[in-house]
C-alpha cells in the first residue's frame, strides 16, 4: 500500500491515516459510487496559481461536470460569482464541518446528510483539524482531500505532489467525471 508523509512534518495523526490516491481514477470512482457528494472550497482557491489557471477554475469544473453541490468557505464566494458560478451555499469552514458531523442534518437541499465530502483550498493546518473532526465524528461520511499536500486525517488524499502533477490529476478527474 502506498504511503505518504504529512506536508507539515510534525502533524502526526495516529493509527488511522488517509489512503493515498495513487491514481485520480480513485476519486472518480468514489464520487460515482457516492449517493450524496459535496465539494467544499476554501479561500485559497482564488489565490492558488496552477500554471495559467487557478484552483478556483478547477473547483468550478469539478462541481459542474460531477454535478456536485459546492459550499464555499471564508469570503471566497464573490470570486466564484465573478466567474459566473453560483455555489450551492457559502458558510464558514467550521460551520459546514459542524453540519457534516450531525446525522440529523438534512443537507443544503433538505434531502439528507452527505456521504462523501471533498475539500480543497483551505489553509493546510486548519483543514487538518477539520478532517480530523470528520474522521472522528462524521458517521458514514468519507472524505477526500483534493489539495496538493497529503492530509492524513482524510479518508483519501493525494500524496505531496508537484504543482504540475496536481493539475494533471485534477484534469483527469474532471475529464472522467464528465464521462460515463
Amino acid at each position: 500500500m502506498a504511503t505518504a508523509e504529512p506536508w507539515q512534518k510534525a502533524e502526526i495523526p495516529g493509527p488511522t491515516k488517509a489512503l493515498v490516491i495513487t491514481k485520480p481514477e480513485v476519486v472518480v470512482a468514489m464520487v460515482k459510487k457516492a449517493k450524496r457528494p459535496i465539494l467544499i472550497v476554501g479561500h485559497e482557491a482564488a489565490e492558488t496559481e496552477m500554471g495559467n489557471k487557478k484552483l478556483i477554475d478547477y473547483a468550478i469544473r469539478i462541481s459542474q461536470v460531477g454535478k456536485i453541490p459546492m459550499v464555499t468557505t471564508a469570503h471566497v464566494v464573490g470570486e466564484f460569482v465573478k466567474k459566473g458560478f453560483q455555489p450551492a451555499a457559502f458558510m464558514p469552514a467550521v460551520d459546514i464541518a459542524n453540519r457534516l458531523v450531525d446525522s440529523e442534518w438534512k443537507g443544503l437541499d433538505g434531502n439528507g446528510q452527505y456521504d462523501l465530502a471533498m475539500f480543497m483550498g483551505i489553509t493546510y493546518y486548519m483543514e487538518w483539524v477539520l478532517f480530523s473532526a470528520l474522521k472522528h465524528f462524521g458517521q458514514n461520511l468519507k472524505t477526500i482531500s483534493l489539495d496538493r499536500y497529503y492530509h492524513p486525517h482524510a479518508s483519501w488524499s493525494f500524496p505531496n505532489l508537484s504543482a504540475e502533477d496536481w493539475a494533471q490529476n485534477l484534469e483527469v478527474i474532471i475529464g472522467k467525471l464528465g464521462g460515463e
Partner: protein, 784 residues
C-alpha cells in the same frame, strides 16, 4: 471585608462570674463587612454551582471537536486509540478526551495568571502593607473589582483583601485539575462546564494581578489619556547600555527602574521590554520602551542590542539563555517558575554576582529579590556594554549568500514552518545575492525558529530573514498609548445605553498573542475598520502592540489617530494580558452601573444580561497560548463570543451555534414569560475564522443581541451587510434571521432586503425583554 484564620488565646482570666484557663478560640473567617449590597445567590461558587447556566449555553453552542491526533497518552494504559467512537482503557471517548484537553489548557492558563497574581500581591503587601488601599481610578472608579465582586461576593478595599479571592482561585484550580485525572470526569459537557469555571477563575486572577499593580505601582489609573510611549527596535538608543526584560511579571523590571532612578542612571541606560512586561514597565515608567510582541524575541536578542537580558515569567522562549550566550549577554532569571537551570544567587553579595557576570564566569544567575535584581542588572549592564559592543548573532550578507549555496533543497524548512513560508525558494534566490525574497518573509514570520531546527545543514534561517528585513526592523519607530487600566464608571454611564440599545454597534476587544496567519497588518486593518465604523475598539497584550506597528501617511499610529477613551470610535489600550480583566469588567459594569443590576455574587443574572444585551465580541487573531484559552473561557461563561484566527482551530474545540435549528434561538420574554424566537444572536460562542475578511464580517454579525432596539439593529445590520458586500462580494444569505420587524431594516437597504425577505417568506416578530433564566420572568397575573 473578611479576615481569615483569626486566633484568640486566653491563658488565664478571672472575673466575678467565671474563671477561664487555657481558652483557645479559632475563627475560620471574621467578617468586618461594610458593603451594604445584598449578598447574591452564588458567592464563591463551587465547580457545580453555575453548572445549569453553563448547560444552557452549551445546549445552544454545542462543542465541535477537532482532535489534533487520534490517541490519548496521558496514562500508562496508553497510548489508546480513540478513533471514530473507540474508547480508551479507562473508558473515555474522544469527545470527553478533547474537552479534558481543553480543560487542561484553560487550567494551565488560569493557574499561571493566579500564580502571577499571588506573587504580585505578596510582593506588594511586603512592600506596602496589607492595608494599602486599592485605588485604581480615584473618584472615577467606585466599582474597583467587578469580577471579584460578581464571583466572590466580596469587595476588596486593600491589598490584603485580595488574598481571599486568590485563596478561592487556588482551591478551585486544584479541584478542577483533579477532575482531569484518569477515572474522574467522563462526560464532555461536564468537562466543558468545568472549562467555563476555569475561565471564570482565570478572570479573577487577572483582575487581582492588575488592580494590585495599578494601585500600588502608580500605573495610569483608568486614564484615557495615558502617555504615548515608544515602541519598536528603532526607538532604542544603541549607544547606551540596553536592558531587555521579557515576560509578564513586571516586579523585577520595577526594581531595575528604581535602582537606575535612585542612582542617576535612568537617562544613561535603556530599559526595554518584550511581551506584557513591556506594557507594564511603560505603565510604571513612560520612559521605558516596548520592543514588540512575543514574536520579536529571537530577532531582537540576535540583533545584539540587549546587553543584559532579564527573564520573568510566561511566554519567555525557553532557549533564551542559549540565544543570549550567542550574543554574550548575561541573563538574570527572576521567577521561581522559570529558573532556566541557573544557580540561585539571591543571598549572595551584589558585588560578587556582578563580578561573576561581567567576567563571564557564569552565563546567568537566578535572583528572587527584585531589588537585588535591579542593582545587579543595572551595574552589570553598565559594565558589560562597552566590552560587548553590541555583539550580534545576525550574519552579514556575504555569510548569507555563502550559506545559501550549501542549501540541500530538502524543503524541510518550509515543512516545519507554521506559516508554510516559502523559505527554501527564498534561500535559493539568496544564493544568487538577491535577498528580496527573504526580506518579503520578514513581516509574516512569527519568529518561532522551527525552520532552523529542521535545516539539514544548520543554516540560521530565521537570522537570514531578520538580516534581509533589517531595514524594516531598524525603521520600527512607533507610538502606543500606555495601558490605561480600568474603564471609568462615568464612561460606562455614557455608553451603557447606546451599547445596550444597539446604537453603538458593538465593542470589539482585539486581544491576545501574535501568532498571526499573515502578519500584524491584518490586526491594524481590523482595528481601524471598526473604529471608523464607531465601534468601541479595546486592545490588550501583544495585539495592542501590533495595532501600533503601522503608520498612516502622516506618520501616525492608530493610537495617535483615535481617542483612548471608552467611547464610539475609540481605540483603548487597557494594558497587558492581566488587564483583559478590565474588558470583562466593563461588560459587567454596564449591567451594574448602567442597568442597576445587583452585582454581588449574582453571576447568572449578570451573564444573562451581558449575553442578551451587550454587543461585545473578542478577537484573538494570533492566540497561541493556554492563557489565551483561559481568558476566552472566562468570556464564554459571560456569554461573550470569541473569534480566533485559523491557528486557533488548533485549540481543538469550537462552540458553534446552528442558525438552521430554529428551536435553539428562543428566549423568555421577562415581561410575560412567553418564549420568543430571537434569531441566532449571537450565532457562535467560540469560532475560528479562515481569513481576515471572514473575521471582519463575523465580528459585525456577532455584535447583534436580542435586546437591540429597532434603531440599534438597523445600525448593526447596516455594518454587517455593508462589510459582507464589500468583502464577500455578495449579500448575506441569512438576513431574514436577523430582521425582527420592518423597523429593523436599514432605510438605505430597504429594497434589496425586502426582496430577500419575500423570498424567504419572512414574518414579522416581536422584540422581547430577553432572558434565558426563568427566574427573571416578571409574569403579570391574568387580569392584573
Amino acid at each position: 471585608m473578611s479576615r481569615k484564620n483569626i486566633q484568640l488565646k486566653i491563658k488565664e482570666l478571672k472575673t466575678d462570674v467565671a474563671s477561664i484557663k487555657d481558652l483557645e478560640l479559632s475563627f475560620g473567617r471574621l467578617i468586618t463587612e461594610t458593603w451594604t449590597e445584598t449578598m447574591g445567590p452564588t458567592p464563591f461558587p463551587s465547580i457545580t454551582t453555575l453548572r445549569e447556566w453553563d448547560h444552557k449555553l452549551l445546549q445552544r453552542y454545542k462543542p465541535f471537536y477537532m482532535p489534533y491526533c487520534d490517541v490519548c497518552c496521558l496514562c500508562t494504559f496508553g497510548k489508546c486509540d480513540l478513533t471514530a467512537g473507540k474508547r480508551g482503557a479507562c473508558g473515555i471517548n474522544m469527545a470527553a478526551q478533547q474537552s479534558r484537553i481543553v480543560l487542561l489548557a484553560c487550567l494551565i492558563g488560569a493557574s499561571t495568571h493566579t500564580a502571577h497574581a499571588r506573587h504580585m500581591v505578596e510582593h506588594l503587601i511586603e512592600k506596602y502593607g496589607h492595608d494599602f488601599p486599592i485605588d485604581i481610578g480615584g473618584i472615577n472608579i467606585e466599582v474597583e473589582a467587578p469580577i471579584t465582586r460578581l464571583v466572590c461576593g466580596v469587595r476588596p478595599k486593600t491589598l490584603g483583601d485580595l488574598e481571599e479571592a486568590l485563596d478561592y482561585c487556588e482551591n478551585q484550580i486544584t479541584n478542577l485539575l483533579s477532575s482531569t485525572h484518569t477515572g474522574q470526569e467522563g462526560d464532555n459537557i461536564d468537562f466543558e462546564s468545568k472549562v467555563f469555571h476555569a475561565g471564570m477563575i482565570d478572570h479573577i486572577g487577572l483582575e487581582v494581578a492588575d488592580i494590585a499593580q495599578v494601585a500600588a505601582l502608580g500605573f495610569p489609573k483608568a486614564d484615557p489619556e495615558s502617555p504615548l510611549v515608544d515602541l519598536g527596535y528603532g526607538t532604542i538608543d544603541s549607544q547606551k547600555p540596553v536592558i531587555l526584560c521579557i515576560g509578564h511579571n513586571v516586579v523585577p523590571a520595577t526594581g531595575i527602574v528604581d535602582y537606575l532612578k535612585a542612582n542617576g542612571l535612568y537617562g544613561e541606560v535603556e530599559v526595554c521590554g518584550l511581551c506584557c512586561t513591556a506594557h507594564d514597565v511603560t505603565r510604571y515608567s513612560p520612559k521605558a520602551k516596548i520592543v514588540g510582541p512575543i514574536s520579536w524575541q529571537l530577532r531582537f536578542i540576535r540583533s545584539g542590542l540587549p546587553d543584559v537580558i532579564v527573564l520573568d515569567e510566561q511566554c519567555v522562549r525557553t532557549d533564551c539563555l542559549l540565544e543570549a550566550q550567542k550574543i554574550k549577554a548575561p541573563v538574570i532569571v527572576t521567577s521561581e517558575k522559570n529558573c532556566m537551570g541557573l544557580p540561585n544567587r539571591t543571598n549572595d553579595a551584589v558585588d560578587a554576582i556582578v563580578t561573576d557576570l561581567t567576567e563571564g564566569k557564569v552565563s546567568g544567575v537566578l535572583i528572587l529579590d527584585p531589588e537585588k535584581v535591579g542593582e545587579v542588572v543595572a551595574r552589570t549592564a553598565v559594565k558589560v556594554a562597552p566590552d560587548r559592543k553590541k555583539f550580534k548573532a545576525i550574519p552579514n550578507v556575504e555569510d548569507i549568500v555563502a550559506g545559501a549555496k550549501t542549501c540541500k533543497k530538502c524543503n524541510d524548512c518550509r515543512r516545519a514552518c507554521p506559516q508554510d513560508l516559502h523559505i527554501m525558494e527564498a534561500v535559493t534566490e539568496a544564493s544568487t545575492g538577491n535577498l528580496d525574497a527573504l526580506a518579503s518573509l520578514y513581516d509574516i514570520c512569527v519568529g518561532c525558529g522551527r525552520c532552523e531546527n529542521a535545516c539539514e545543514v544548520d543554516l540560521p534561517l530565521h537570522s537570514f530573514i531578520v538580516k534581509a528585513g533589517e531595514k524594516k526592523l531598524k525603521e520600527e519607530k512607533f507610538k502606543v498609548r500606555s495601558g490605561r487600566g480600568a474603564i471609568q464608571d462615568v464612561e460606562i454611564r455614557n455608553v451603557g445605553s447606546p451599547i445596550v440599545l444597539g446604537e453603538i454597534p458593538g465593542v470589539l476587544a482585539v486581544v491576545g498573542c501574535s501568532n498571526y496567519p499573515h502578519g500584524g497588518k491584518e490586526v491594524v486593518d481590523i482595528c481601524q475598520e471598526f473604529a471608523n465604523r464607531r465601534y468601541i475598539v479595546v486592545t490588550s497584550g501583544c495585539a495592542a502592540m501590533t495595532a501600533a506597528m503601522y503608520k498612516n501617511e502622516e506618520g501616525k499610529t492608530l493610537y495617535e489617530m483615535y481617542p483612548g477613551s471608552f467611547e464610539a470610535g475609540g481605540i483603548v489600550n487597557v494594558g497587558s494580558c492581566v488587564a483583559n480583566s478590565h474588558i470583562a469588567g466593563a461588560a459587567i459594569k454596564i449591567a451594574n452601573i448602567f442597568a442597576k443590576r445587583n452585582l454581588r455574587a449574582n453571576y447568572e443574572e449578570i451573564a444573562d444580561y451581558i449575553h442578551n444585551r451587550v454587543g461585545a465580541v473578542g478577537l484573538a487573531w494570533g492566540a497561541y497560548s493556554q492563557k489565551a484559552a483561559a481568558i476566552g473561557a472566562g468570556f464564554w461563561r459571560l456569554g461573550v463570543p470569541v473569534i480566533v484566527g485559523p491557528h486557533g482551530a488548533k485549540y481543538r474545540r469550537m462552540l458553534l451555534g446552528r442558525k438552521d435549528r430554529e428551536e435553539d434561538w428562543f428566549v423568555y420574554d421577562a415581561r410575560t414569560g412567553d418564549r420568543v424566537y430571537v434569531g441566532p444572536t449571537p450565532e457562535h460562542l467560540f469560532y475560528a475564522a479562515e481569513s481576515k475578511e471572514e473575521a471582519m464580517v463575523m465580528i459585525a454579525k456577532l455584535c447583534m443581541r436580542p435586546n437591540d432596539t429597532t434603531r440599534g439593529r438597523a445600525i448593526k445590520l447596516t455594518h454587517w451587510i455593508d462589510l459582507h458586500k464589500r468583502l464577500y462580494g455578495t449579500l448575506p444569505d441569512d438576513i431574514n434571521l436577523f430582521v425582527r420587524t420592518e423597523l429593523d431594516i436599514p432605510i438605505t437597504m430597504k429594497d434589496e432586503i425586502h426582496k430577500i425577505l419575500e423570498e424567504k417568506k419572512w414574518k414579522e416578530n416581536r422584540i422581547p425583554d430577553p432572558t434565558l433564566l426563568p427566574r427573571m420572568i416578571r409574569k403579570r397575573k391574568e387580569g392584573a
